[in-house]
Amino acid sequence: MEAIILQFLNGLDKGSAYALIALGLTLIFGTLGVVNFAHGALFMIGAFCAVTLQKILSLSKVTIDPTKTDFLGNPAKVKTPYVQEWFGPDVGAFIIDWSVPLALILAVPVMIAVGVAMERGLIKHFYKRPHADQILVTFGLAIVLQELIKYFFGANPIQTPMPEAFKGSFDFGAAVGIDPNVIIYPYWRLIYFAFAMVVIGAVFAFLQFTTFGMVVRAGMADRETVGILGIDIDKRFTMMFGLAAAVAGLAGVMYGPINAPNYHMGMDFLVLSFVVVVVGGMGSLPGAVLAGFLLGVLESFASMEAVLNTLPGLNQIIIYLVAIIVLLTRPRGLLGRKGVMED
């Protein structure tokens, strides 16, 4: 029983990552009608914002320490990060320690800029092109972006640890008075979950309660009519793209401490997030969130030892199996609208 509760919690946490990415994809698809295969790359760029900031903060002054030797037996070079030079060792170390949360601040403008540049520079020209062309050109872009990241950062994963304060895990069992050690969960993953909830809530609130959001929602429903009303929907859509990129980027920054960022993390998530979006129903924001959680939970259940003993390999295919079943029984996904993406 505890095992099931634990996997359920874990699935929700996992699902929050899926839901966040799928939400961004759906925002873009729903507003602009563009299938953006480069969305995973935006997620990756977000994570690399954290890597970059960490590298910048760790930029060091190199001094030779004659008392020590390096691996070749030469006098060792000692690196002192400039932030420690400037702010003192403790404050400096603290700043470096907090580079991931700080990266959130960096990532918002960077990601909006990347998103807007992408929309104005490339996506804009594909509004009238077939969906297949949109998929393919953004797929090409995703390849180029990931290879560029690899060119500059290498293929190896780069750790972006969470601040010391958030290390360790929370013991649910001990908190509610049952066996300790049975239901534990890392703090950072709980933070990630809360963060995802806040972002998802904020996006919904933004679309629901602001004028901007209302116009965009109207545009999602009927672009032409909104255009006829004399509203410059294009500008708003560009901003939506920036917003979606920022959501993806923030998700990436926060994901860094969970799994060390590497250049192919975007592609790793891409297929999965598309499955999530399609299962949820193309263009449906609640659908994307629902499907994200659903797949997260099912994936977690499928990885249980008891399940794998009866159905070996189920963890390999669960996501796809769910996708096939959902699409066959609910042709437009869980909450999809009729007539979307069927041409």
Partner: protein, 403 residues
């Protein structure tokens, strides 16, 4: 000739001549010259050109004609390969049963996948095919290891049963052949500084490719092919014209899967080993890229696209820093390092960037692919606009108008 009109016959003859003369055409630079780096006339790559040409041709029958974008076509290639290698392990190293079985098994698998996936269209169809391919890949890599060999794949071993073959002499490696003609045997012709290699396997694959190409032309020009284009153009009208689009799409899906299976079987015939990454989704993405690069919906485009992509993969990736330094040895200091740095970003281990950039450029500026490029080039030379009379249906226009 052969039931084709004049234009198609000409195209077939040109392709036949080009494939037969490929060992010359692909080795334009003499051995030992700095440009020999760019020669592609060695057996492995020539074989890959024609085999992936077949794969892309088959994919194009589905995507180019009906507009159904399968994102899991590599699964059929993989299944075909496994079928072929098992024939070689169980029956004989002769490539014919292996190739036949690869077509049959891939076709059967395509019936199942197609029957389910074709219940949906658009991106839902793409995701369904992707899901099947990813499941095939994941299972082949892991729990199906007893059948697929898992990560390390399958190769013929000297102690396999091989019911039809005489026992191998001690220590002899089993080799794929065609009634005694070994696929790996080659003859070399040396003229001046040039060396040309004629490989038995390549010619077998090339002949198969020509047959596949011929069949693909026939399908394009047949009533069946026309129905498929009609389905792509307006499925509603197809249904209200008394045509049942389901069996049409399923039939072409299966044919397309059989082409992929044939390509998989040939891969094994040329190089007797299979690994599961052949079915990974990026491999399916690759055939999409090939087809689009060359020109979807055109006859020759996919073959050209396959050639271009395989050329980049095999030639660009081998240009390492040392080679580039050799090229720019003439440049003055400073300039050479700039040049080396710039070029290095696009070749060797960075060849994916080049592929990605070229692919994007094609999608943005040349939706009809290389074929459209050729046409535009030809148009510059010919004043008279021969619209509607060209060798190929105007792919770009079709693709754009369709959706």
């Amino acid at each position: 000739m052969l039931g084709l009109n004049k234009k198609d016959t000409n195209l077939l003859i040109i392709v036949a001549i080009m494939t037969m003369l490929a060992p010359f055409l692909l080795n334009p630079f003499p051995e030992g010259s700095a440009l020999a780096q760019f020669n592609a006339g060695y057996p492995d790559l020539m074989q890959r050109f024609v085999i992936f040409g077949i794969f892309a041709m088959g994919f194009n029958l589905l995507f180019g004609l009906t507009g159904y974008l399968s994102f899991g076509h590599a699964a059929f290639l993989g299944v075909g390969s496994y079928a072929a290698i098992w024939m070689m392990k169980l029956l004989t190293m002769n490539v014919i049963p292996a190739i036949i079985m690869s077509i049959v098994i891939a076709g059967l698998f395509a019936v199942v996948v197609g029957f389910i996936s074709l219940r949906r269209s658009g991106i839902y169809f793409s995701i369904l095919t992707l899901a099947f391919a990813q499941m095939s890949y994941a299972l082949a890599y892991s729990v199906l290891t007893p059948i697929t060999g898992g990560e390390t794949g399958l190769q013929p071993k000297p102690n396999d049963p091989r019911l039809l073959d005489p026992a191998l002499a001690d220590g002899v490696t089993p080799r794929a052949g065609l009634f005694g003609l070994e696929m790996s045997s080659s003859t070399e012709l040396s003229i001046g500084g040039w060396v040309f290699t004629f490989n038995a396997g390549y010619y077998v694959a090339a002949v198969v490719m020509l047959i596949a190409f011929y069949l693909s032309i026939r399908i394009f020009r047949s009533p069946f092919g026309m129905m498929l284009r009609a389905i792509k153009s307006n499925q509603q009208r197809v249904n209200y014209t008394g045509l049942n689009s389901k069996p049409y799409t399923l039939a072409v899906f299966v044919i397309s899967g059989m082409y992929a299976g044939l390509a998989g079987g040939l891969l094994v015939a040329m190089d007797t080993q299979v690994g599961p990454e052949r079915m990974f989704w990026t491999a399916s993405g690759e055939v999409v890229i090939m087809t689009i690069l060359g020109g979807a919906g055109t006859l020759i485009g996919p073959v050209l696209g396959a050639g271009l992509l395989k050329y980049m993969e095999n030639i660009l990736s081998k240009i390492n820093k040392g080679v580039i330094e050799g090229w720019f040895a003439w440049a003055p200091d400073g300039l050479d390092s700039v040049l080396i740095y710039t070029v290095n970003m696009f070749v060797g281990k960075q060849w994916h960037i080049t592929t990605g950039v070229i692919f994007m450029l094609v999608i943005i500026f040349l939706p009809g692919g290389l074929v459209e490029l050729g046409k535009r080039g030809a148009r510059v030379f010919r004043r008279r606009d021969r619209k509607g009379l060209g060798l190929e249906p105007d792919a770009a226009k079709q693709r754009n108008a369709a959706e």
